[in-house]
Symmetry: C2
Subunit: 309 residues, 2 copies
């Protein structure tokens, strides 16, 4: 891969931002952070056979790898501004690069995000994306702020992406709705911005509902009492799975990129009123407790992670 | 690789910086940029068999992958502050991780750089490092500022790392000095900070002297007339190589991570006086011209890149 040519041909996009003083093409980017604003930044690597199946369309890879990073910004209540892309490709494949690049351009345009650097190298397919966002000073959401008696909410529902994966693995009859939930998750950035004014803690659900709830509980030194009845009975998974399978996917399936947050009783009413003005669907799934661990009907729920494949 | 355990055990270091509001362990890091300061950031991926030979000691991999990023900061005149590490490993290898981690800790301690995030994944060995540095508003060095009649300088000399690689490939009798130049390059961060007050343009030499000089010339829309006699006759390569081989390695060998910069006649004297107060050795190698292309004694010098292996 001739780095210079690939970047010039496929990875040069319009810049949206007068805060970019020096863009790609020098040894580093130079950026201005506006007054009373903090930088929020994270980085994730995506690998074939670990984060996406071999043969996944390049547009889906571009889409999802960016959505996962946008979801980190959503979970912080941050507005994404800039991104770096480190792309490792087995060979210079013009068709692959063209499809990847077109999807990338669409996302960057929709979100008004500018590509400020990175590199291209030749090797086993791998994508590392670093994202840079803004928040007003100290107005960020964190995993560490959950308080006893906080209500626990999630956006939409969970388990759909995991069922999509099982469908791609031919373990269930294929249905495009669920496959799209896996390949084309939608980061909840608007919700994240709204939650900043209400939530005590927040995380995005990438490792599974229970695993990511547990991240909040560990960071906040709290426990949780869940009531999952409504989440399970209203789940779209019921059309395909037994009740046990549905519950298992809802609790432990990953890759949904919904948000999970906690808020105090005082703010709950105002929040529910506010959220009705939007198109986002939210569900209360339990409350924060002083007792460590996660329970439902006084029974401990097992805490375990989600391994993609 | 159990991401959480690896990060906790091997990749958790002391934070040096009160500008870090939220560190590793949340969905993203939150950072404050001081007043009148801009963010300088870049990212590079290092692959086995592309950037380092298979079997390279993990400490050397850690050392070099960070030095290459520190060198980008040097070329910008920026002070490195924070870093992200995205580490992909074939398996959880405790010995490997321990050696990598110890070297990483030493570099971060020496440079007072804080690790603020990243991830670990399982796959073919790959290291992506993103670096974040500071400059005073608009006081950065760039590739684009070379002016006609500027003097062209480099620090120390070039070609030594390339000879080290040839030695590792058993094409020359091994000598540790040159192998260390390849495996343990020294980024010129102090020089970069000093150059900010003098240089019109600057780049670090990673792709080779001619290739990186050409990056400055393309960005500045200029040419260069070189005088390489002194550089060649004083080169340490002469003990091992013919005159032609020496010249070839000096011009086209990569991975030295020295700086190349241009400065006006007016600032040259002051600069040379200032540099004498330091331990850095510098060499004048030519002047910037209006005529596009690179010449020596009125003969065109071929422009070509450096492919590592």
């Amino acid at each position: 891969v001739q780095e210079f040519d690939v970047i010039k041909k496929y990875l040069t996009f319009k810049s949206y931002d007068k805060n970019i003083i020096l863009n790609t093409g020098d040894d580093a980017a130079v950026l201005t952070i506006p007054a009373k604003t903090q930088l929020v930044t994270s980085s994730d690597t995506f690998l074939e056979n670990t984060h996406f199946l071999q043969g996944t369309p390049p547009a889906d890879i571009a889409y999802k790898s960016f959505m996962v990073n946008l979801s980190d910004m959503a979970a912080m209540g941050a507005v994404p501004q800039w991104t770096m892309l480190n792309l490792t490709l087995p060979a210079k494949d013009d068709k692959w690069l063209c499809e990847f690049s077109n999807q990338l351009k669409e996302i960057l345009t929709n979100y008004k995000i500018s590509l400020i650097g990175g590199d291209t190298t030749q090797g086993p397919l791998s994508i590392t994306i670093t994202i840079y966002g803004f928040i007003k000073d100290n107005q960020f959401l964190t995993r560490a702020g959950a308080k006893t008696d906080d209500s626990i909410y999630i956006s939409n529902s969970t388990g759909e992406a995991a069922l999509g994966l099982l469908m791609l693995q031919d373990k269930y009859p294929k249905n495009d709705y669920f496959v799209q939930k896996l390949q084309r998750p939608q980061a909840q950035n608007k919700l994240g911005l709204l939650l900043k004014d209400y939530a005590n803690s927040c995380i995005d659900i990438s490792d599974g509902l229970i695993c990511d709830l547990n991240h909040i509980l560990l960071s906040s030194n709290k426990g949780a009492e869940l009531n999952l009845k409504n989440l399970i009975t209203t789940s779209s998974l019921n059309d395909y799975c037994s009740e046990d399978q549905t519950k298992n996917l809802i609790l432990y399936g990953g890759d949904d990129y919904e948000l999970l947050w906690t808020l105090s009783k005082e703010k709950e009413k105002k929040f529910l009123k506010k959220i009705k003005e939007t198109t986002v669907s939210v569900q209360k799934i339990g409350i924060i407790t002083d007792n460590i661990g996660i329970k439902e009907n006084n029974k401990k729920i097992k805490i375990k992670g989600w391994s993609h494949f």
